[in-house]
């Protein structure tokens, strides 16, 4: 066996390791048995029906969607503005500020969660939805910033300078030239922030008020009992949502990029 085919075999095994557990979640979610485990007794959609009728889960989805959407919008606006400053201007202290901006990725999320919680509690802010939102914004911001920055570096300055020299003011230039060219990164940033927020559990467990659950914390709470087929069904819904959304987003971004070219 040649070296290359060993490498290929190893790669296939690793992909199997990555996808097998996920595939089994999807498979078991269609199991008609009472218990969320093997053997498969028959194929049924029963557990998806149970999900739909479970108020706690529907509520959790509502919270997660709202939180994800608000986080995505806030982080992306802040990220675009900061990226413009860091890519398009020269100013003293720039490298320190660049590092500071990605600090939320470098600080362990547990520490960030504790620090934010205790500080805002000290300021008498209760555990609440706004606290969750602030927390999610702070740790998604660096990701959005990095995505937008990477794209902005590739947009030639000449276009903006042409607009400026033709009499457009900087704000007009941004909205008519820079933003359309930046759109794929803006969409990617929105999706990125949404998915990170939608998936977060580490910080959310610290910040969420009692009685409010997001989808991941709801799953976590359900795991306390035992693994039920309902959790597998919920897992399948999550997988479809979080995989399909980015794929649609990527396809959209590609189409937009093609049209601009």
């Amino acid at each position: 066996m040649s070296g290359w085919s060993i490498i290929r075999l190893f790669t296939i095994v690793v992909y199997g390791f990555m996808f097998l557990p996920v595939a089994i979640v999807v498979l078991l979610s269609f199991n008609s048995s009472q218990f969320g485990s093997f053997p498969m007794e028959g194929v049924s959609l029963r557990w998806f029906g149970e999900l739909w009728n479970n108020d706690a889960i529907i509520r959790a989805f509502r919270v997660s969607f709202m939180l994800g959407a608000l986080t995505a919008i806030t982080s992306t606006v802040l990220g675009i503005l900061a990226a413009l400053a860091l890519v398009r201007y020269r100013f003293p202290g720039k490298s320190v500020i660049s590092t500071l901006m990605i600090a939320p990725i470098l600080v362990p999320e547990v520490v960030l969660a504790v620090a934010l919680l205790l500080f805002l509690r000290w300021l008498d802010m209760p555990k609440s939805f706004p606290l969750l939102l602030l927390g999610h914004v702070i740790f998604t911001l660096p990701f959005v910033l990095l995505v937008v920055q990477a794209r902005l570096v590739g947009i030639r300055r000449d276009y903006e300078e042409a607009a400026l020299s033709l009499g457009a003011n900087p704000v007009q230039t941004f909205f008519t030239i820079t933003l359309p060219l930046l759109m794929p990164a803006v969409l990617a940033g929105l999706l990125f922030a949404f998915t990170i927020s939608f998936d977060d559990i580490t910080g959310t467990m610290f910040w969420k008020p009692g009685g409010v659950e997001t989808v991941p914390t709801q799953i976590f709470a359900m795991l306390r009992n035992s693994i039920s087929p309902e959790i597998n069904a919920l897992g399948t819904v999550m997988i479809v949502l979080t995989v399909a959304l980015p794929l649609i987003g990527m396809a959209l971004a590609r189409r937009m990029a093609a049209r601009l070219r």
Partner: protein
């Protein structure tokens, strides 16, 4: 355009993000440093002041030290597994000349989008007493009793490797993809074997990506508390579990602050060493 106005502009653009990071990260971290010197009182409100009690407890009680070492050991083993399991697929995708490269890459990024809690709990379906593996072995008659595969340190590490592997593959892939292929042709034309060319050219040039992936795997696994709760037993608590228990369960915020600072200092020094050797900018390359 007024010169002073244009000098102000980057600061104007930066100010919302800068204020967010300062008020929601920098100030709060300094705040818990101060808070760690306060004292918890039975009556409710914590007393402010400068008390060393929490710090003496955290730094002298062997309980905390042992769990810290165990956490670092688990993070290290996880990172080593990720290096071995991650390098080969990244190499395969980067060097493959097939047209399926895009598809392979897509598959590689896909796990990033699958929920962490789902991926973690998915192992219960496989390793649990009535999970896939035990059912299979029982049916085949290889074992007569289900094996206890879950709720131990091994299953915690397995879950962490499964969660963190894509970070490693992506970082290594980015640095492998950036290597000028002419260098490899040059090495071979000078008489190097494939293995020598790999050792002398490819491996050293992919080191920055490998280091970035290793840093992420180490820091993220050392800071986790969800995986040990879902896949570990009662004795498999990691350092972040102590933080969670102190803050959420016992409501001992001063102690929780001190424990958070310990975790921040330990993992922060790992990041600093890495920054001296490689530079944090390497991580940003995966977003290009």
């Amino acid at each position: 355009m007024d010169g002073r106005a244009s000098a102000m502009r980057p600061w104007l653009l930066l100010s919302p993000a800068l204020a967010t990071v300062t008020l929601l990260l920098v100030v709060p971290v300094m705040f818990i440093l101060v808070y760690s010197f306060w004292l918890r009182t039975a009556t409710g409100a914590d007393t402010s002041g400068f008390h060393l009690d929490n710090w003496i407890e955290v730094l002298t009680d062997p309980f905390y030290r042992d769990i810290l070492f165990k956490t670092l050991r688990i993070a290290l083993v996880t990172t080593l597994f990720c290096i071995v399991l991650g390098y080969v697929p990244a190499y395969f995708i980067a060097m493959s000349r097939t047209g399926n490269k895009t598809l392979l890459l897509l598959l590689l990024i896909l796990p990033f989008w699958i929920s962490y809690i789902i991926r973690t709990m998915s192992w219960i379906n496989i390793l649990g007493a009535s999970g896939g593996l035990n059912s299979l072995l029982l049916t085949l008659g290889i074992i007569s009793e289900p094996m206890r595969l879950l709720y131990n340190e091994g299953s915690v590490i397995l879950g962490l490797v499964h969660f963190l592997l894509p970070f490693m593959v992506l970082n290594v892939y980015v640095s492998l993809e950036a290597i000028d292929r002419n260098l490899l042709d040059a090495a071979r034309s000078l008489g190097a074997s494939d293995l020598q060319a790999f050792r002398e050219v490819t491996l050293p040039l992919s080191m920055p990506g490998l280091a970035a992936g290793a840093l992420l795997c180490f820091v993220l696994s050392a800071g986790t508390y969800i995986t040990p709760v879902v896949l570990g037993g009662p004795r498999d608590a990691m350092f972040a579990n102590l933080v969670f228990d102190a803050i959420i369960t016992q409501l001992d915020w001063p102690l929780g602050s001190a424990l958070s600072i310990v975790l921040l200092v330990v993992l922060g020094s790992v990041v600093l060493v890495y920054n001296r050797l490689v530079g944090v900018g390497q991580i940003a390359k995966s977003f290009g």
